[in-house]
Amino acid sequence: MTAIPLLSADELSVGYGAEPVCAPVTVAVAAGTALGIVGPNGAGKSTVLQTLVGLLPPLGGTVQFDGRDVDEREAPFRRAVATVLDDDAFFPSLTGAEHLLLTARGHGVGDPERAVAAQIEVFGLAERAGALPSALSSGQRRRLALAAALVRPFRLLVLDEPERRLDAQMRRRLAARLAAAVAGGAAVVFASHDADFVGALATRVLVVDDASCPVVPTADAVAALHEG
């Protein structure tokens, strides 16, 4: 049985101005799967992610979520899609725990305090939960941004190099947490340079390149990443 795609891109051309940064992308992501995106620095992985979630307009082709053209300004899209593309999307006067609590309450999470406490535990933020974002290290801010995405319900989670600035233990913990979300029926799209992280999470992998952007089995992509 073929899964119905939650997110689909057809001949999607991405870039800034009129210049595409990579070859057109055609890919479909079903619920309960994880798509890894790999490619060298500057290949266009982040641009693809930003276009998939409607932050950049496509230069050509289409991108659809749940059968409709992506419009990140609409409430249903925001309700269903969580993103971590930027580490510094914080209110300077709210503490880390308050960011999580407000997000949980805003999404109508039942027992928000418990949900927040659970994410704080998962991401090892207990000692710094009461600190302002400006008082956190870059790695702690990264963890807070990831926790804010996971403290709320979502159908699709889009992450740009989620393993960046995380230590090895935290990377493994994050991969396990995301794998659990995928097992629970969510879809995850993530860009990464970490072969182990990709191997632990991705169902398939999109390789972003100038000439073409094929979707390949995870094992092939991991082997290519190990080879450098």
Binding site: F90, F91, P92, L102, T103, R105, G106, A148, R152
Partner: protein, 506 residues
């Protein structure tokens, strides 16, 4: 010379606006201004008789000298605050990277910076002091203004020296807070006292002119200030070696950011550059009343404001400024000047409550974290500003209109302007960044993108327009119910326009 010529030619080559386009823009602006002036003149003309019959302002109780003193304190507070935020001594990242590690005395490297800061501050102090000295006494003399200017210059030099000493001791942070508090108190206390006196029907005795100090005392004061300035600058020079490189670099980055913002006339960026540090809250919020995304936006905005005590001071000063003008002899008698003070004061209040919008614009991802459409988020961002500004504008208008017509009318007409100023706060917060990728024009401030004026006035423009009915009320000297109704309808329409245009840009 060659580099400058190269830059100028490159800039001219990129500026694809022809002189025809620029003349067209100027003509368009002139036409719009002429139409606006014509409409306003028509309204004023039709109201001329009623304006002529306006009762004289009986409740102006503050001598002009007191208000001039308030202006002096405000200027001093502003200068202190800016100096404390910028260093006063700083080093650009390049200087910090290449000069400070050199095996040379840091005093020699930074002495030029100290001289530059002192010179700029002295010039600014003199430029600010002259108008205050002219406005203070009833009959200013050349000698008095000269002595006063010299005194201001010496005091400024002393302040720079003292601030550098504090900077070297790592105790500069409290200065901004103290200067801000001083400025707020300087505006609020005289305004409150004058309102109370006017309410009691009291007029001061012949205290309208500040007594000039005897010449010997004036010379003595000047000599003392000169000695103080010399000692402070010598102490500052000796402590330059103790300034840590990290702090110098951090302040240098702030100076660069602030300078670029000031030169591009971008007040929002300048505010970000000079913004105060947020302190960790002692008590975390639980927000049990937040049961949905709409309330989450309001809760976040309330928390941003509640945790910025300086903003409450700005709101108080914004409410008091028009009252101060209305209660000052000479100023209070001229409705147009009171209207200008109203725009300045309520504009300050709108800037204060616009902080959440500015933050959301700077970090757009924050708006996307909640299940609300972009339009709804922007509309919700107006909730807190409306609630706060209803109180600020209402109370301020009530006190401005003291002794002229129905107090309730003034309260209502002031509160009715709140939607316009709240819309201005949101519109200003979400206004787009300057577009440097397009055509540029050469100005006395350097190269600026075309359309910079239209971009930078987004926000305040709406507040000024929204206050027009109240300004007519000031001209008439009364606030009848029909004016309140017109004000409310006009301000609400402008607020809707502001939110709609801000949403499109978000």
């Amino acid at each position: 010379m060659g580099v400058r010529r190269f830059t100028r030619r490159a800039t001219a080559a990129r500026a694809d606006t022809s002189w025809v386009t620029q003349v067209g823009d100027v003509l368009s602006w002139l036409t719009s201004a002429a139409v606006a002036i014509g409409v306003l003149a028509g309204v004023v003309s039709s109201l001329r008789e009623r304006i002529a019959a306006r009762p004289p302002v009986a409740a102006a109780v503050l001598p002009g000298a007191v208000t001039a003193g308030v202006a002096a304190v405000l200027l001093t507070g502003g200068v202190l605050g800016v100096l404390a935020r910028l260093g006063p001594v700083s080093a650009t990242p390049a200087v910090a990277a290449w000069w400070l590690p050199l095996p040379a005395g840091r005093r020699g490297l930074l002495r030029g910076e100290l001289r530059r800061v002192a010179a700029v501050t002295v010039l600014a102090a003199v430029a600010a002091a002259v108008p205050v000295l002219l406005a203070g006494p009833a009959s200013p003399t050349v000698g008095g203004v000269l002595l006063g200017s010299v005194g201001a210059a010496l005091a400024a030099a002393a302040v720079v020296g003292a601030l550098v000493v504090l900077q070297a001791a790592g105790r500069i942070r409290w200065v901004s807070t103290a200067a801000g508090g001083l400025a707020v108190v300087a505006v609020v206390v005289p305004a409150a006292a004058a309102s109370a006196a006017a309410g009691l029907g009291r007029e001061p005795a012949d205290g309208t002119v500040l007594p000039a100090p005897p010449p010997a005392l004036a010379i003595g004061l000047l000599a003392g200030t000169a000695l103080l300035a010399a000692l402070a600058l010598i102490a500052a020079d000796r402590r330059l070696t103790r300034l840590p490189a990290g702090a110098l670099r951090e302040r240098g980055e702030t100076v660069q950011y602030a300078s670029a913002s000031a030169l591009s006339l971008d007040a929002r960026e300048l505010g970000r550059a000079l913004g105060t540090v947020v302190r960790t809250p002692r008590r975390p919020r639980t927000w049990t009343w937040v049961t949905g995304p709409e309330r989450a936006v309001v809760a976040a905005d309330l928390a941003v404001l509640a945790r910025s005590p300086w903003r409450w001071g700005q709101l108080a000063a914004g409410a008091a400024l028009p009252v101060l003008a209305a209660r000052t002899r000479g100023l209070g008698d001229v409705p147009a000047l009171v209207a200008v003070a109203v725009v300045l004061g309520w504009g300050l209040a709108a800037v204060s409550v616009g902080e959440p919008s500015r933050r959301a614009h700077a970090s757009p991802a924050a708006d996307r974290t909640l299940p609300l459409s972009a339009g709804v988020v922007v509309r919700l961002r107006a909730v807190v500003p409306v609630a706060v500004l209803v109180v600020v504008c209402g109370v301020s208008a009530l006190l401005v209109g003291q002794g002229a017509g129905s107090p309730l009318g003034w309260l209502a007409v002031g509160a009715a302007t709140a939607p316009a100023w709240a819309g201005a706060a949101v519109r200003g917060g979400y206004r787009p960044e300057l577009d440097w990728s397009g055509p540029v024009v050469s100005t006395p401030f350097g190269v600026l993108p075309t359309g910079v004026g239209a971009t930078l006035v987004r926000g305040p423009d709406l507040g000024v327009l929204g206050t027009a009915p109240l300004a007519i009320g000031l001209l008439l000297g009364e606030a009848p119910p029909v004016l309140v109704a017109v004000q409310l309808a006009w301000a609400s329409a402008l607020a809707a326009l502001a939110v709609e245009t801000a949403r499109k840009k978000s």
